[in-house]
Symmetry: C2
Subunit: 204 residues, 2 copies
DNA sequence: TCGAATTTTGAACGAAAAGTCAAAATTATT
DNA sequence: AATAATTTTGACTTTTCGTTCAAAATTCGA
């Protein structure tokens, strides 16, 4: 059942991705509607008709970012993608992916972290969305950690939940460091240290 | 030699601190000049005469934040304050201070991290200031780490510079997590895990 | 083919933004 | 006391912001 009336000339997902890129780079208040309209290559009114106001557009862009950038991490941890491997291998692979991601020259960091740092924390929708993703990420970490501990590839004397929270925080930290001038030095260094700390003590 | 003319009725540092608080909470673009003028309790023109434009005010506020919030950490690491103690004790004390700081209910995170996440990265002055602070922090960490390693309180098989970069990144990460809804849970958990990983392997 | 429904287009709106101007007020120097 | 220098005050300018309006264009169902 096609809707009566003129169909949209633009691809909604494509436009959303363009908006996401702008918001990711400039933040909510740093991105102007004119800028967004230009980047999305759609008319002003089409934007408002399709996405509502600026705040709702940001929410959808952030949701899209989550699907695109957080989900791969979750899948990588659970082994649903990239051919699996042992728990410790999957963990290391995700951390390695983060490293290369945040070491690039024009790195924009992580939209999640940027949102946490800049968005009005009283906004309930944003707070809930962001926090939900954070928790899901931490839970995925916890599961892999337990698995790696059970396999004897990770010291079992550190609580899995605690370590998961630490890795989540490190994710944020790498993303912030990724936006700094010396990201190409700092991020790989931090990643090396983390990889070292995550070795089993018997292997040292 | 007092300057001829009417003296200012306000304390410059006090006004700057008020501005810093607003910028810290709302970010550069999130804070309006009228809002700043009100918080600083000075006239609009006095603001422009004293601090220049909005960007220069932000730079001074950020500099003030560095003096007030980063320096204590540097001093705590070097042992210049808080009565010293061993290197590992100083390290743990700083991490503990970060934990309590980022676990609070109305936590604003870290202005440094917020700036990295939201400010236009092409701005050379901001980039230099922020990166300089990051490097100074990493250097201070590196020195304490070396000391702790020499004292046998920290495993020596992880490179001190790398570990310093990691702790700097963890600082950013805790600050970001500190702005999330579940900061009171996540931040202490991450801190516990980090404290566990930093134990010497012989103590496990 | 007519009409209802939707999108597009481009102009326009009011509000709020950053920043400025000029006169009044206050102080130190002479 | 007079002058020069500075700050204060409050209105004002200009620009940009997010959002909306209304008419033209396009498409589908009857």
């Amino acid at each position: 059942m096609a809707p009566a009336g003129r169909p949209k000339l633009f691809d909604e997902t494509e436009a959303l991705e363009a908006a996401q890129a702008v918001f990711w780079e400039k933040g909510f208040e740093g991105a102007s509607m004119t800028e967004l309209v230009n980047a999305m290559k759609i008319g002003r009114q089409s934007l408002y008709d399709t996405f509502g106001d600026k705040r709702r557009l940001y929410l959808r862009a952030l949701g899209h970012y989550a699907e695109q950038s957080i989900k791969p991490t979750l899948d990588g941890l659970s082994g649903a993608c990239e051919g699996g491997g042992t728990a410790i291998q999957r963990l290391r692979r995700v951390l390695g992916a983060w490293e290369t991601l945040q070491s690039g020259s024009a790195c924009k960091g992580c939209m999640l972290a940027n949102t946490l740092a800049s968005f009005d924390r009283r906004d309930p929708d944003v707070a809930e969305l962001v926090d939900g993703l954070q928790v899901r990420l931490a839970e995925a970490f916890e599961q892999v950690i337990r698995e790696a501990q059970a396999a004897g590839d990770l010291d079992a004397d550190v609580d899995a939940g605690d370590l998961a929270a630490l890795l989540t925080a490190v994710g944020h930290g790498l993303a912030i460091a990724g936006r700094s001038r010396s990201n190409a030095v700092m991020v790989p260094a931090a990643a090396r240290a983390l990889a070292g700390l995550l070795r089993h003590h018997e292997d040292r």
